[in-house]
């Protein structure tokens, strides 16, 4: 019951954030022609069950990928709301799927290089690394790698390059994401996990979609 409630709450929060951001995007689009909301964000995601900035070698062994988008919260575009779906690959502890939304603050560092601090909420479906079993009427039944849904609290830092003077462009970025995964089991109420992220935001010029 708790698991279903956690999933519902997280989904509602993600949808609420998305709708709120959509409204802001519409408002911004009327007076901010250069900045483009809703880029396609493609990432490589290197995952590990680890304490922050520890056991980075494990991150490099587990390569997954993510797709997402984002929308600016303000006119100066240094606050953004991100939405991501990440396919986590991890042979050691099992794969997973993470749905998350995070609010990012991006102060410019120098030129078009910015730094980033972000935090938010997510829901992870963690699978198992090997075949698993349950018993029904005394008989063991394989359930494959069936996993469990868990509330996730992501917190990240990063940096990237952004230049919105071209017609169609890709802005690269790097990031490190620390996550606390809730209710892993009865003895580990929070489990630390991490993601090394690298990717790019593809910024299509949506204004041209309506042109003939």
């Amino acid at each position: 019951m708790g698991k279903i409630n956690a999933m519902k709450t997280t989904t509602m929060l993600i949808v609420f954030c998305f709708l709120l951001s959509w409204n802001q995007a519409i408002a911004q689009s009327e007076n901010q022609k250069n900045y483009r909301n809703f880029p396609i964000v493609l990432t490589l995601q290197f995952h590990a069950l680890s304490m922050p900035i520890k056991d980075m070698k494990s991150n490099l062994k587990n390569v997954g990928f993510g797709i997402g988008t984002e929308v600016s919260h303000n006119g100066s575009h240094n606050w953004a709301q991100q939405f991501d779906i990440i396919w986590i690959k991890n042979r050691g502890i099992g794969n997973g799927i993470l749905f998350s939304t995070q609010t990012a603050w991006r102060p410019m560092v120098v030129g078009n290089v910015y730094s980033e601090v972000k935090a938010g909420i997510g829901y992870m479906i963690g699978f198992r690394p090997s075949e698993s079993f349950t018993q029904k009427d005394g008989n063991w039944i394989s359930v494959g790698k069936k996993g469990k849904g868990m509330l996730t609290l992501p917190l990240g830092i990063g940096m990237g390059y952004y230049n919105h003077s071209q017609n169609m462009f890709v802005s690269p970025f790097l990031g490190y994401q620390f996550m606390l995964v809730k209710n892993y089991n009865l003895d580990l109420p929070f489990v630390p996990q991490s993601l090394l992220q690298m990717g790019g935001r593809i910024h299509p010029d949506y204004s041209k979609l309506g042109e003939n």
């Binding site: 069950l49 304490m51 520890k54 963690g126 198992r128 690394p129 349950t134 063991w140 003895d187």
Partner: protein, 387 residues
């Protein structure tokens, strides 16, 4: 280039197979030892209850007034439905501490170690540096868990590394890095608090004194008692003639069990002193019986091992590598063991002159809803055996 690709693919495929399938385990032809105990059928029915309540496999070995008898139920490997048999080898986890304590007491009887000397006298400074109170903590305090040294298993960096890297072997000295420089739990000798680190240090001492404490244990414990199927400091990936049981863990505490044989094996291979032994049910009982009957140590050493320190409730709890607990109102002397993929108990009941070994191939170190029913059924086991 093609060869390189082929080698890489073979390596990748083999490692996937190992990760996915656990260990091969075979049935054996040996029949279990069954003497005319009236309790056999009743206990068999209780073990069957256990394995019908989501425990993969279970064994019980008993030495009572009717002699030695043993029974089993369920599977040693769920995949392929390999039945659990009494000839199979089990991880006895922390029961290893009793074997380690006997080794230390044997070294003491040989005059090679003094129990009331600080342990730093027996180890090089590169191992003891940064361990708080190392000049005050005696060998005896390590043996009875009154050292105040921190638990390496509690360090989140260690736990995450262990779970993330199921094939990784941790070096014994590496475990000490997780407690170096950390505030001790209490002043040495002032309290009792069970810590695996104490027995890791004892194993390092035994290694330093003997040069090879695995060989010493074999020579001084296994050989005198005729234990041919007991192995300490096991080899990674060795299925010991396909007799080592597979291990299962309820990772997410939702009553689903995954095969964690690879993780369990690497974990046990890594640990010394506090863990690291596999044995058959019969040989576990033979060890405890031989030890209690004084075949391994002098009477004074045996008495010392049963000088109990008190827990916070003021009740006797631990001697030197021995634990005392009440089961159904009867005092049991021995040890229990728990790991990611197994759980076991080995106890002697002086008032009944009875020995019992119980083991399951399911993890007991993290909680699972399955455990609630298991605990009730285990109470039934002791009720039948002791009453």
């Amino acid at each position: 280039m093609k060869t390189l690709v082929l080698i890489a693919f073979t390596f990748w495929f083999t490692s996937l197979m190992v990760m996915a399938q656990g260990f091969e385990v075979q049935t054996c032809n040996e029949a279990p030892d069954l003497y005319a105990s009236a309790k056999i059928s009743e206990l068999q029915s209780i073990l069957d209850q256990l394995t019908h309540n989501k425990v993969p496999g279970a064994v019980a070995a008993i030495w009572d007034e009717s002699g030695y008898w043993e029974i089993s139920s369920g599977y040693s490997k769920i995949e392929g439905q390999v039945p659990m048999q009494t000839c199979h080898l089990h991880y006895i986890q922390s029961i290893t501490k009793t074997y380690m304590a006997v080794s230390i007491l044997q070294l003491s009887e040989e005059g090679k170690i003094a129990l009331d000397e600080p342990f730093i006298h027996y180890l090089p400074s590169n191992l003891t540096d940064g361990i708080p109170n190392s000049d005050k903590i005696t060998v005896r305090m390590l043996l009875n868990h009154t050292s105040g040294i921190r638990e390496y298993n509690d360090d989140p960096t260690y736990v995450t590394r262990l779970l993330q890297n199921p094939n990784r072997i941790f070096q014994p000295e590496e475990y000490l890095d997780y407690i170096r420089g950390k505030k001790p739990d209490f002043e040495p000798g002032s309290k009792y608090s069970y810590r695996n680190t104490n027995y890791l240090i004892l194993a390092l001492i035994a290694e330093k004194i003997t040069g090879n404490h695995k060989a010493y244990m074999k020579e001084k414990i296994f050989k005198p008692l005729g234990l041919k199927n007991t192995f300490y400091r096991i080899e990674q990936g060795d299925s010991y003639g396909d007799k080592l049981v597979n291990s299962y863990w309820d990772r997410y505490s939702n009553s689903i069990l995954e095969n964690v044989s690879v993780l369990q094996n690497s974990n046990v291979v890594s640990m010394i002193g506090d863990d690291g032994t596999i044995t058959t049910p019969k040989e576990a009982v033979i060890f405890l019986k031989g030890f209690i009957e004084g075949k391994l140590l002098s009477e004074s050493s045996m008495e010392m091992m049963q000088e109990w320190v008190l827990n916070r409730d003021g009740k006797p709890v631990y001697g030197l590598g021995l634990n005392t607990t009440l089961f159904q109102g009867f005092e049991g002397i021995g040890h229990s063991g728990g790991g990611l993929g197994s759980g076991s108990q080995l106890y002697y009941f002086p008032k009944k002159d009875l020995y019992i070994f119980l083991a399951v191939n399911m993890g007991t170190v993290t909680q699972s809803p399955i455990h609630k029913e298991v605990e009730k059924i285990l109470d039934e086991v002791y009720r039948v055996i002791l009453n």
